[in-house]
Structures are given as structure tokens and as C-alpha cells.
Amino acid sequence: MRIAIASQGVEKTSAVDPRFGRASYFLVFDTSDESLEVVENNQNVNAAQGAGIQAAENIAKKNVDIVVASNYGPKAFRALEVAGIKAAIWADGTVSEAIELAINNKLKICDKANVEGHWM
């Protein structure tokens, strides 16, 4: 399983970024070899629109199965759905805690967008 965590930093100890589209980074953890890859998302932080779509495309390229953040807008959710990536809701701690919860199947998976577009 490949897990993408929206992250405010590049370490396993970094805090999870609640924003999906405008997360600073995605850290992609692969359970088969326990590798951690940093995916930059900085071109999206200042995007005028469609940040969630672009973020979904960025992680879809990395063959991710599930992503962890806490806010998914309607277009972001649609993009993840099309890409076949599960959207998990959690943003209370660090990347390593998020990975642990994802592996143990303890995260709530969205069945629809949970915030309005342009909610911030």
C-alpha cells in the first residue's frame, strides 16, 4: 500500500497539513519497503484555483492508494475519486502517527467532499 500524507514539513515528525490542495508537501510512504518520498506541492499553495485537482494529479502520478488530510473540497474529492485514491480524514498529529493509523485501517474515509470549494 502507498499512503500519501499531506504534510507541513518533510520529516516523519512533521505535522499533518489539514489542507489537501494547498498542503505544503505530500509524504508518500510505501508499506512494502517502508520508504518515504517527499512530493513537493508548492506550485499549488498560491494557485488561483484548482489547487485540489492539481494536488490529486501530483499524488496520482505516485500511484498512491490513500491520502490523509482533513479538508477535501468538491473538485478535489472528484479528482481523487476518479484517480481511485481514498480520501482519509485526520490531521491531529504527525506524519508517522498518520501512517500508523492508515496501516491499521483506523481512519475515516470520506464518501463525499467535506468542505466547500475555496473554504479558506
Binding site: G50, I53, E57, A60
Partner: protein, 282 residues
């Protein structure tokens, strides 16, 4: 003769001026067309009460991807400044509501897998009321990008002697789309700090585009003298001042013409038109 009615601030009286002037011109026996370009909230129909004779869709072109030809190369997505098209797993998804219809994605597609298809974002109504030819554009609820509807209105073939274009408020793209190519822009304002602030922005806009313009001060006796001062300092023509009058406001609230309660206004709006026609032709 194409005259646009614009304002920086909303609620200053654009539609009041536009519809009253259109009716005054029509009553002089002239062929006049009123075009409501305030497509997010058109309300000229309240005053002209047109009988609508035809309606048609306003569309924009959006990409459609033929997945049989697509190789998922991602060139389309990289070309899109607006993130409206994305390669997601084994498919390409288009997000039409944020597409700006630039055609960039289909231009760069190496497989010619993208064709442009029309998407309806609003509609245009045509009719006549009070002796005035009437057109109105209306953006569908939930749509974010209004200029294509305005563009469709401005491309209309009308052979009327006089076109009165009722612009939306503000100074951004929808307004510029509405007023471009007109012979004269009337900027309607009110003598309040908000009105003056937004008048300054509107004057900057028309000067940047290079359109002849003048000012109508509505409810001219309610605020302070700073708006007139500004106009004098900037050498702006004050075309007309309209003092506040309760019976006029009441007529407005009932969707009636100002001349219905104060007959002087039919003459005043005809004179407003004549003074602009004279400026344009000289």
C-alpha cells in the same frame, strides 16, 4: 451610437438611468435597443417589462477528451493555467466550471485527442417593451465566469440607431467586456465616500481603455461636495445631477419610470442623450 452605462459602485442607479434614457429616446420616435449586460443580476426587465419573443443559449467551449486516442502524456494538464484538466490514474478528467475556454489543451495535445464542445452557461432573451428593443443576458446560477455571456450580447447584430448598454457594477473583466467598443460611457455615481472611491476606479478604467466618458450624479443632494470637486479637478463632464425625490424612489420600487411621477424627467433624459450625441459627433 453605442452608449454604455457603468459605475464603480453598485446600486448607484445604472439601470434607472439606462432604462429611463432608453424610453425617453424611444418616445422621440428613435429606434433604440437596450442591452442588459449585468448578467449576474439583470433587472432592466423590471422597468421595461418586455414581451420576450426569443431565447437562446449562451455557450462556452470546453475540452472533451477521446480516451481511445489519449496516451495520458499530461501535456494538456501542464498547459492549463487554471488546473481545469488533469490526468488522474488511467483517465483524464475535465473540470468545466473552472475552464476559461482558452483552447490551450487541445492545441498542445500531440494525439489530437481533445475536441472542444459547447457548454451552456447562461441564456439570452430578446423582446421589446415600452417601445424599446430589449436584450438581456443571464448567467446560470452556480457559474463563475460571466464575460462569455456578455460577449455573446455584445456580438448581437442590431441595426438600431441607438444602443444603450447597461453594464454590471465594478471595474473588472465583466464591465470591460460590456463597455468595450462603445462610443461613450456614462459613469453613474452618488456623492458619498463609497461612491467617490469607486467613481475614481471607474474613471481610471475608462481612461485606460480610452473611451469618452462623463458623470451622472444620482441622489445628488444626499452626500457631500467631494464628488463634484473631484469631477472639476479631473475635468470630467457632469452630464446630469438627479436630486433625491421620495416619489421617484417610490416609483422605482414599483418598477415604474421616473417620468411617471415627474414628467420633467422625460425631457431631461432626452437632453442627456442629445448632449452625449453632440459630444460623440463633434
Amino acid at each position: 451610437m453605442k452608449i454604455a452605462i457603468a459605475s464603480g459602485k453598485g446600486g448607484t442607479g445604472k439601470t434607472t438611468i439606462a432604462t429611463n434614457m432608453a424610453v425617453a429616446i424611444a418616445r422621440e420616435g428613435r429606434d433604440v435597443t437596450y442591452i442588459d449586460c449585468d448578467v449576474e443580476e439583470p433587472n432592466g426587465h423590471i422597468f421595461l417589462k418586455p414581451k420576450i419573443r426569443e431565447q437562446y443559449d449562451a455557450t462556452v467551449l470546453v475540452p472533451h477528451v477521446d480516451l481511445n486516442k489519449c496516451t495520458l502524456c499530461g501535456d494538456c494538464s501542464a498547459a492549463c493555467e487554471f488546473n481545469a484538466i488533469a490526468v488522474l490514474g488511467k483517465t483524464v478528467e475535465v473540470f468545466p466550471s473552472i475552464c476559461h475556454s482558452c483552447g490551450g489543451c487541445s492545441d498542445v495535445c500531440p494525439e489530437n485527442a481533445i475536441v472542444d464542445i459547447p457548454r451552456t452557461i447562461g441564456h439570452i432573451s430578446h423582446g421589446d417593451g415600452m417601445g424599446v428593443q430589449f436584450y438581456e443576458g443571464r448567467l446560470n446560477v452556480g457559474e463563475a465566469i460571466s464575460p462569455p455571456v456578455t460577449k455573446a450580447l455584445r456580438r448581437l447584430d442590431t441595426d438600431s440607431e441607438v444602443l444603450i448598454i447597461d453594464a454590471p457594477p465594478g471595474t473588472s473583466c465583466p464591465v470591460i467586456e460590456a463597455i468595450s467598443g462603445t462610443d461613450y460611457v456614462i459613469l453613474v455615481t452618488e456623492p458619498t465616500p463609497f461612491g467617490l472611491n469607486d467613481l475614481k476606479l471607474a474613471v481610471g478604467m475608462v481612461q485606460e481603455i480610452g473611451l469618452p466618458h462623463g458623470v451622472v450624479i444620482n441622489r445628488s443632494d444626499i452626500g457631500d461636495g467631494k464628488t463634484e470637486e473631484f469631477c472639476h479637478r479631473q475635468n470630467l463632464d457632469i452630464l446630469m445631477t438627479i436630486p433625491f425625490e421620495r416619489r421617484v424612489a417610490e416609483a422605482y420600487s414599483r418598477g415604474e419610470m421616473m417620468s411617471d411621477v415627474n414628467s420633467e424627467y422625460e425631457r431631461r433624459f432626452w437632453e442627456l442623450y442629445c448632449s452625449i450625441a453632440e459630444k460623440v459627433s463633434s
